[in-house]
């Protein structure tokens, strides 16, 4: 029994490694021909000059846009494959300050009202700072981006529990339609067509993987009025598997 | 500053050196940096006011990233820093501390 369990474990480890190598190679080696397509399209545009059929220009524009999407998807895949391999440094972080900084990054460009409330005793924590910031930024980015109202509001509340920090990010946006809820954490899934909202759709998938890595979780629930609520449970103590 | 008690951390990735003072002293600094195991891969930019010639050859032998003649007039200085700044913004550095 033990023997077969051990074998299973070894196979699992090997499979995982192979999968990550695959993602890495795919996203890495595909970049060259992608760049070539994008560049050559630009050259064709330039060489055609000013007297050219509008349709041709439109199509060339579409071509470049699709290559740009390809690049974003490749970068997202690369990032996904790297989640449990890079930036795994533990350092002391002031959580309130970090979240305030994240909010600052959005404040300038968007017309969003941020409401930040922190109910924490231990503001400082030794943790995987880079990963935490990534998750917060992904969720905040979604909250800011997928918004149809004029007066957009995003609420961030942190509560400290015994074993984790509970970070709730909610907004007064359109929320997520019921049939899409179970798909939102899949990579590249976007609720809207990518032609309408230009986004790769990888933020939540990457965040989900990070939460698995640290032994926490991220959950979605619809807001009482409309809008979305994302709750992140970030554990105080993180043990990484080798 | 790069070593010993006044050590800068993290170690800088770029060093800009004015080679005009006592010529030999500055060349020694360049040599010292290049020979130091922790510092030898720092990107070095050297500015000089005097006619270069021999100094330039020595500097190039130490693989200085840029050897730049400069006189301290305001317009030149603005241009100088603007170009250098643009350049430093397009190049990559490792994330190693």
């Amino acid at each position: 029994m033990e023997e077969s369990e051990k074998k299973c474990q070894e196979e699992l480890v090997a499979l995982k490694k192979e999968f990550e190598e695959f993602i890495y190679i795919v996203s890495h080696d595909i970049k060259s021909p992608m760049r070539a397509i994008s560049n050559i399209t630009t050259w064709i545009e330039e060489d055609l000059g000013s007297v050219v059929n509008q349709d041709v220009l439109t199509n060339l524009g579409l071509l470049k846009n699709r290559v740009y999407r390809l690049e974003n998807m490749m970068n997202a895949l690369l990032e996904l494959s790297r989640v449990d391999r890079t930036e795994l440094e533990f350092y002391e972080l002031n959580i309130t300050k970090m979240i305030a900084n994240c909010i600052d990054l959005f404040d300038r460009e968007s017309n969003v009202d941020f409401h930040f409330k922190a109910d924490i005793i231990n503001e400082n924590c030794v943790t995987l700072g880079v990963k935490m910031q990534k998750v917060i930024m992904s969720v905040l980015d979604n909250a800011v981006r997928f918004h149809h109202e004029e007066n957009r509001k995003v609420f961030i509340d942190i509560v400290e529990n015994d074993n984790d920090y509970e970070i709730k990010i909610s907004d007064n946006g359109p929320g997520i339609p019921e049939q899409a809820i179970h798909k939102i954490f899949s990579i590249f899934y976007t609720v809207n067509s990518k032609d309408i909202v230009d986004t790769t759709g990888a933020g939540l998938a990457i965040s989900c993987k990070i939460m698995k890595l640290v032994g926490g979780k991220i959950e979605y629930s619809p807001d009482v009025h409309s809008g979305s609520v994302f709750t992140i449970h970030w554990p105080k103590i993180i043990t990484l598997k080798n | 500053m790069l070593n010993g008690s006044h050590k800068l951390t993290p170690v800088p990735k770029i060093v800009l050196i004015d080679l005009n003072r006592t010529k030999n002293k500055e060349i020694n600094v360049l040599n010292a940096i290049r020979n130091h195991p922790d510092l030898k891969s720092i990107l070095m930019f050297v500015i000089t006011h005097s006619d270069y010639g021999k100094n330039k050859t020595t500097a190039l032998n130490l693989n200085i990233a840029g050897y730049i003649p400069l006189s301290f007039e305001i317009q030149q200085l603005n241009h100088f820093f603007s170009v250098l700044n643009d350049y430093w913004n397009i190049i990559e550095f490792s994330s190693q501390k």
Partner: protein, 136 residues
């Protein structure tokens, strides 16, 4: 400031990337004589056997067949006649290990090839300004 234009050697195996450099150079009116080698081995031959005049600037890709950029650079830095050529890495590799290796071999800069041609033209413009500043 009238200076003779220095020779530039581009070591790059991808033909589209070579076209990229040529077009970006021409857009930026960089008139320096440009020589091309498809990989490290070819480049060494060109340099050692003096098939091309000695360049002052080398633009170096990293991922190439037969001999990659870092291996080439190691050999160049050990060669008396070639070791003080200014080397600018231009690559798709965003790997820390490559950046560290390159700077340990004292490259003058490490540039990532951007996806869009427009961005590349801008980077080359900056490079040109830098070269002119150094009177290369």
């Amino acid at each position: 400031m009238n200076q003779k234009l220095v020779n530039i050697l581009l070591i790059e195996d991808d033909e589209v990337d070579v076209m990229n450099v040529k077009r970006a150079f021409s857009k930026n009116k960089i008139m320096n004589p440009l020589f091309i080698a498809g990989n490290g081995v070819e480049a060494l031959e060109m340099l050692k056997d003096k098939i091309i005049p000695l360049p002052k600037i080398i633009i170096l890709d990293i991922n190439m067949p037969k001999m990659n950029g870092i291996e080439f650079l190691k050999i160049v830095r050990e060669n008396e006649k070639l070791k003080n050529i200014s080397v600018f890495v231009m690559t798709t590799s965003n790997e820390d290990s490559d950046k560290i290796d390159a700077y340990n071999l004292n490259v003058a800069g490490y540039i990532l090839k951007p996806l869009s041609f427009e961005k590349f033209v801008t980077s080359v413009a900056t490079l040109k300004n830098f070269w002119q500043l150094c009177e290369m």
